[in-house]
Symmetry: C2
Subunit: 330 residues, 2 copies
């Protein structure tokens, strides 16, 4: 299985992790997906020792004709590069969000449909032990039907690269940070989005230009299920971990929480909340490879990847325009 | 200090707790505030041993002329009874929400302004050790400026009295359960409400008529501060406590959380979150008595009591009508 990396900005470690378990995979080419990306930072990594380094990813794709293109450049270029790769017959493993505008998203969907290839966005958090454990437990009916979801992402800001400072290249905090939380909502509840109302603010963003340092979104879903998403970059720099991901799931038969990399279940058996034993971590790129090889669907489908992008862009539009946005949002 | 109790439905234990520390307070009369309230359930309580029991609270107020009226009847009668008590020159300590309609709220405000008397709603949760400790810590600047708030109320449903089953008498979950959380948002942030978008659902309410078993609200406040309120009656009956109150405060210099009756501060000093030592509990009725005696303002002001009622009714209107409601909301 021959792979080309386009861009070195996103979570390409997912690819390295998956390759470690899959000796027939090889990275054969590396190129920047956006002007200014420094692919040289990969030099010396064992995973790219057989790779040729290009300056033009289209030339690379044309010459090497890989089965898989990994797209992880500046966020504003995800859509364009994905379309180019699909048009050349590649399966695409792409950093989220897939697109920063509804127009770009439509172009990717169109190219995908015409391509008959596989695509998955990097919703890698699904594969952590805590999210997998919670999801399996919900599937088993441990909390009944989910009625309410509260999702949280809290990040350290640190000092972000310049491209984060501009809406045009970064896309906004609701798509970048929020799309994970939005994905959990859809994935866990199994419901479809009906509407979103969201807010975001650049105040106190420590000289990060247009980057929104706080955001809040309120989704309504089918069957009168509701979900909140709270996002911030205000986690203190000295905190023990980069992020503080949480998800609270309120069901008809119990309440489940993901917090601190643990899963807690409160369903009336045995009094207080109990911590669930964790499943082993999954591996998003291995799962994608499995799908490419025809061994079954990936946990993250192309449909999910498009739908979550749509929802994240709808939330951003709501916050920009100060109004409720209904789905389908375009 | 002579007190009359009107109604036995709300949190009248606040009054008993406050009286225990204040031997010059006496309950001189008890009457129902709503048809169907059984004041006989207080018979034998030492706090009412000197009280006369009436069937008509107006007659009671006219005959006994107490300094203080405690209003804690069915929620739909709070406003009317409060107006009657204010017009007779009583200070009023009243269960929240103060009113179930904007019209009723306006009547209470008008009567209050004309009365030159004191009024406070029963936002007793402010006086718990955890909320007092967090609030004092925020006042001292421990987390800088608050930018984002996430408030939670989760209750056991149990089997609620019939008057909870009808919107006309209960008023809705956003005003009844939500007004506490809405109070925290305003009290902690010091910001004013700009808009609210909310949702609520009666699905899976276990034969509780019109009672909304889940609700979610999204507030925007002055200075681009945002707040979520999540409410549910889905806490399992076997859980160790009736409620699961939480508040997360995201500030420019740190993050504070109230959870499980504890306060956690993450502000970069010493790595992970640290638990703060708790202040002793306060006492809302003692605080109200202090104000009545001219010894300084109560922590819960009349202005707060009106404003939080307005915000809760605005949230309910938003959920009923599926639209953003702007403040001032009438």
């Amino acid at each position: 299985m021959r792979i080309c990396l386009i861009g070195v900005t996103g979570h390409i470690q997912y690819v390295f992790q998956g390759m470690a378990k899959d000796p027939v995979c090889r990275i054969v080419g590396v190129a920047p997906g956006s002007p200014g990306e420094k692919t040289g930072r990969l030099a010396g990594r064992p995973e790219v020792r057989e790779a040729r380094f290009y300056t033009d990813y289209r030339q690379m794709l044309d010459e090497l004709q890989p089965e898989i293109a990994v797209v992880a450049c500046y966020f504003s270029d995800h859509a364009k590069v994905t379309v180019e790769a699909l048009m050349r017959g590649c399966h695409v493993f792409v950093e989220k969000p897939l697109a920063l505008t509804f127009d770009d998203l439509a172009l990717v969907k169109k190219a995908y449909t015409a391509s008959n290839r596989h695509l998955a966005a990097m919703f890698g958090l699904r594969y952590t032990p805590w999210f997998l454990t919670a999801w399996e437990s919900v599937q088993k009916g441990m909390i009944g039907r989910i009625r309410l979801l509260n999702a949280q992402k809290s990040y350290k800001l640190g000092r972000r690269e310049e491209f984060y400072h501009r809406r045009a290249s970064y896309g906004g905090t609701l798509p970048w940070v929020g799309s994970h939380a939005i994905d959990w909502i859809h994935w866990f509840s199994g419901e479809r989005f009906c509407s979103v109302y969201a807010s975001h603010s650049r105040c106190f963003n420590r000289d990060h230009g247009e980057l929104e340092i706080t955001a809040l979104a309120h989704f309504t879903l089918t069957n009168e299920v509701f979900a909140s998403v709270t996002l911030d970059y205000l986690r203190p720099e000295q905190a023990p971990t980069h992020d503080d991901d949480r998800l609270r799931l309120v069901g008809t038969e119990g309440i489940m929480e993901i917090r601190d990399g643990k899963v807690f279940l409160l369903n009336g058996e045995g009094g207080g909340p109990k911590e669930l034993p964790l499943l082993p971590a999954g591996d998003i790129f291995s799962d994608f490879l499995r799908q490419v090889r025809g061994e079954g669907p990936s946990l993250v489908t192309a449909e999910d990847s498009f739908y979550i992008t749509e929802a994240a862009l709808a939330a951003r539009r709501s916050a920009d325009e100060g109004r409720v946005v209904l789905f389908p949002a375009e």
